[in-house]
């Protein structure tokens, strides 16, 4: 792979890199000045569309295309919600962008608002990021003082306010309509779609929801151009007309059992093995990987033999995972029990399900109870079939729930049981020698509170 220079992470390690002066010295805000002086909103939409940029928040939807779903000639207001809820276990790249280069994010937000004719951008920030909160607020203040925000920016007639809005420690606020409900001051219950936010979103007005890293990419595309962006990553598959390709740099979050956990920038399409070996210093303690989460816990599990899978938008799906997700790569070494890993995953989703949809509420809670029982040495082989059934029947993709949380809960179950079934069977037979074959209903263990 040719030497690749970080762009999104350019400011990391630069003294005072988070300040406006430093950002400008790196070329920041000049693209915005140029756009405001010379371009129309539609030009920016076309630029982002041409770049092939796909959203970095998890779903990988084409950003430019999403913007075109807004109604034409709408009298306004149109809103931009910037998703900084970043709660997918394993993920922390938004935090690093907000702390180390907040102006890159803000320039991206201003450009995106100009393109979509949004008059107000709300950054929905998870509560657990107090440092990001202070850094972003200080940067927003600097941007107002420099005339990049406020009324009639640079005399163009374009006005924009950016406000920070803090969440309250709930994963579901990252789902775009959960975020909208939460911002409106209600319970973060995702909405049934359609209508999609582009038509009827925040305060029932047309709304775009985009991730923080997506915003940073927009700023870099404006600075370095569409050709630059398209020269990085994995081009669209010519044999698949529906593949939009995986272009641009990506922030991979590497954690778990590696020597050097961290956020690393690489071209989309680096393999998990390259990431672990070249950036992460290898699996820790000289061990081998047993499994790797490709993009946050919702995406499921890859086995050791699947580690050469390219981590682009299409790669993880080819080995049965849900997708690239947030590109948060979590390494699990060969000394770790996969029962424990799945228990941890089930506990997370049982805790975070908002409870609106029966399959998700009951499925996440029962899968946790079964895993509690298996961990406690009371598991039965039949539980594996029940778990596999939950794993394949709850979710938006089978069509039984409102939002994608249920798919995210199902995938780790499905992958763990399919790919590591013999380890579950061994564990169950070893820890429950007299009861593993029972198929009649068994009394529940004392219910351990999920919350």
């Amino acid at each position: 792979m040719p030497a690749f220079k970080p762009v999104l992470l350019e400011a990391v390690g630069v003294p005072n890199g988070h300040l406006l002066a430093s950002y400008k010295s790196r070329g920041g805000y000049a693209p915005l000045e140029r756009v405001l002086a010379e371009k129309q909103p539609v030009d920016v939409v076309d630029m982002v569309k041409a770049s092939g940029l796909r959203g970095r928040g998890g779903a990988g939807f084409s950003t430019g295309l999403k913007w075109t779903f807004l109604p034409k000639d709408h009298p306004g207001p149109i809103y931009l919600c910037v998703n900084a809820d970043e709660s997918e276990p394993g993920t922390f790249n938004n935090r690093i962008l907000m702390e180390d280069d907040p102006h890159q994010v803000i320039e991206g937000i201003i450009l995106s608002s100009f393109a979509t004719r949004a008059c107000t951008a709300y950054i929905y920030l998870r509560y657990e990021y107090p440092r990001s909160w202070h850094r972003l607020q200080a940067a927003i203040d600097e941007a107002y003082a420099a005339g990049y925000l406020g009324k009639n920016i640079r005399g163009t007639g374009f006005s924009l306010d950016i406000y920070l809005h803090r969440g309250a420690a709930a994963y579901i606020c990252g789902e775009e309509t959960g975020l909208i409900e939460s911002l409106e001051g209600k319970r973060a219950w995702p909405r049934i779609k359609p209508p999609f936010p582009a038509i009827e979103g925040l305060f029932r007005k047309p709304t775009v929801v985009n991730n923080i890293e997506t915003m940073a990419c927009v700023a870099q595309i404006a600075r370095r151009g569409v050709e630059w962006f398209k020269s990085i990553g994995v081009p669209a598959d010519p044999n698949n007309p529906r593949d939009p390709g995986s272009y641009g740099p990506k922030l991979y979050c590497l954690s778990g059992h590696v020597e050097k956990p961290g956020c690393y920038e690489a071209p989309l399409g680096i393999t998990a093995r390259q990431l672990i070996d070249e950036f992460g210093g290898g699996v820790w303690k000289g061990r081998k990987a047993k499994a790797v989460i490709p993009g946050g816990i919702s995406m499921g599990l890859m086995t050791e033999s699947e580690l050469d899978t390219p981590l682009d938008f299409a790669g993880p799906g080819k080995v049965g995972c849900l997708g690239l997700g947030t590109a948060a790569v979590v390494v699990i070494d060969d000394q770790t029990s996969i029962v424990d890993v799945l228990h941890n995953s089930c506990r997370f989703f049982a805790h975070e399900s908002c409870g609106q949809c029966t399959p998700c509420r009951e499925g996440t809670s029962w899968s946790l109870r079964m895993l509690e029982r298996i961990k406690a040495g009371k598991g039965r082989l039949k539980d594996l079939d029940l778990l596999a059934e939950i794993g394949s029947t709850m979710g938006m993709m089978p069509g039984s729930t409102i939002c994608g949380l249920a798919d995210g809960a199902a995938w780790p179950i499905k992958n763990a049981i399919n790919k590591f079934r013999s380890e579950f069977e061994d564990h169950i037979k070893r820890t429950n020698p007299t009861g593993w074959m029972v198929t009649e209903p068994v009394p529940a263990l004392q219910i351990v509170e999920a919350h």
Partner: protein, 165 residues
Amino acid sequence: MIAQRKILTDEMIAQIETLASRYPTRQAVTLPALHMVHAALRQVPLEAVVEIAEVLGLAPAEVQDTLSFYQFFHQDKPHGEVRAFVCRSISCALRGGDELLEHLCHKNGVKPYGTTADGALTIEPAECLGACDFAPCILANDDLLTNMTPEAAEAELKKPRGRAT
């Protein structure tokens, strides 16, 4: 009505009004207002819910409905002077997060979500804090405690620290 207000200070009301100018509905200020009271009192008692509702022109039940969705807000009793969120999600669990939580609860004589008798410390299991590069980690008020061992965490949580903002 105003005369009976016990919890919201004039300063808080002024702040709520400033925030209200940022949104087209007053209901959108619910979460910021709850945060404001929680940061000051380390709880949001029912009286505060009633007062917030009054200022925002909502029914108290609407504010309480929102509050109760987020387990974040303590209502009946304040949380400790230090509120420690101990991460239990996957990247931290792989590096000893569960053991860390168990050790801290044991040494401080509390159950998860409990507060020490002197009101100094509340220990709460948390989902991914978005700092998995520093696993296992703890968010104690506004401070991120990184790469914690049980012993180091025990010592850190004895230290006084600034309030959560």
